[in-house]
């Protein structure tokens, strides 16, 4: 019990007495004061199980409390701590330093998002795009108000969309997307994958309205199928596949 209590009181899981240490390079940028971003380096003690988020919190606790980072659950559920770690978009809480195989760990804010400060980025556009595709079941009938009606689905029908329901809206897919880097109006892989999630749901009746929203000059057709969105998803969602399946509806291969 005492051990549990001491773990609960500890802000980071990395003890300072650790023999191994790495160099943590943190991108620093405040749009209100700075013209360009720069890096600050910190020597951080780490253990085999230390995550990048824990290393950043170690820096905040012992070296520089002004480092801006967004985090919450620390278990890859809330999708808050997305950042570029050694050049690849990842969740800081879900990336162990030992798996990076490097003594130098560089953390930067996610690409394709406006920076608030340091590692924290604005999520407004991600959430706006997500909201735009109507991420909820659409039905015109009155069954929803009845307590007696259930919308039953077979396991095969659930299989059609269930992986896309795992999206935690962390924005890593949008950060990795090469189209988003040049096309600021592109709806993005996150919203497109979620559009597929609801279009493929047999309980949903809003297919036509959703397809109309994404059938735009900056919609689904701007995806070049680079597949980087699927590569970086920490929850195993395959947005690239969802986008291709969604195109099937628009091209008439699926109904």
């Amino acid at each position: 019990m005492a051990q549990v209590s001491s773990i609960a009181n500890e802000q980071t899981s990395t003890p300072l007495s650790s023999s191994t240490s790495i160099t943590l390079r943190i991108s620093r940028f405040n749009p209100e004061h700075d013209e360009s971003s720069g890096f600050m380096e910190f020597s951080v003690p780490v253990q085999k199980w230390t995550t990048v988020l824990e290393a950043i919190l170690e820096v905040k606790k012992h070296f520089d409390h002004s480092v801006a980072v967004r985090y919450s659950c620390r278990q890859a559920t809330c999708g808050s701590c997305g950042m570029i770690i050694n050049g690849k978009p990842r969740l800081a809480c879900f990336t162990k330093i030992s798996e990076l195989n490097s003594n130098v760990v560089t953390v930067e804010p996610m690409n394709n998002f406006p920076v608030i400060r340091d590692l924290a980025v604005k999520f407004e556009k991600l959430f706006d795009s997500h909201q735009k595709i109507k991420p909820f079941l659409i039905r015109d009938d009155t069954e929803l108000v009845s307590d007696e009606k259930e919308f039953l689905q077979s396991p095969e029908e659930v299989e059609q969309y269930i992986q896309f329901a795992n999206c935690i809206k962390c924005g890593l897919c949008n950060s990795a997307c090469p189209t988003m880097a040049t096309d600021s109006s592109f709806v993005g892989p996150q919203a497109l994958a979620q559009a597929y999630r609801y279009v493929a749901d047999t309980r949903d009746k809003g297919k036509d309205s959703r397809l109309k929203i994404i059938d735009d000059s900056h919609g689904i057709w701007r995806c070049h199928f680079a597949g980087s969105c699927s590569q970086v998803c920490p929850k195993g969602v395959d947005p690239a596949m969802g986008i291709q399946l969604l195109r099937g509806y628009l091209l008439g291969f699926r109904s």
Partner: protein, 114 residues
């Protein structure tokens, strides 16, 4: 026009162009390659109506596909309402211009005006 309709045309023109350009290249093999590109033989091709019709079709297919591809690239490079309208109408004008100029060449050569 809806973007999905435009993209269906884009993919359709690509597939049709691949097939017709393959026929066009295979026609070079009816005789020695260098010989097939000699002035008189090229003129003879234009004067053969089915071949001239195929060239006209290739011209239309590649113009539609190419200018739509250019439109898509330009739309991804920069955004803005005025810019996007200018790109769309500019590409449409370019496509019509190229088809008109190419058709003029094919028709004039076919009719022996060259």
């Amino acid at each position: 026009m809806r973007e999905s309709t435009i993209m269906k045309i884009h993919y359709g023109t690509a597939l049709a162009a691949v097939a017709l350009v393959a026929v066009h290249i295979l026609m070079r093999l009816t005789m020695n390659f260098a010989e097939s590109l000699e002035y008189e033989n090229v003129l003879a091709n234009y004067k053969f109506v089915p071949y001239a019709a195929m060239l006209e079709l290739i011209l239309i297919l590649l113009s539609v596909h190419g200018f739509n591809g250019l439109r898509v690239i330009l739309l991804e490079l920069k955004q803005g309402r005025m810019y996007e309208k200018a790109v769309s109408y500019g590409c449409l004008a370019g496509m019509i211009g190229l088809i008109a100029y190419g058709s003029r060449t094919i028709i004039m050569t076919n009719m022996g005006m060259v």
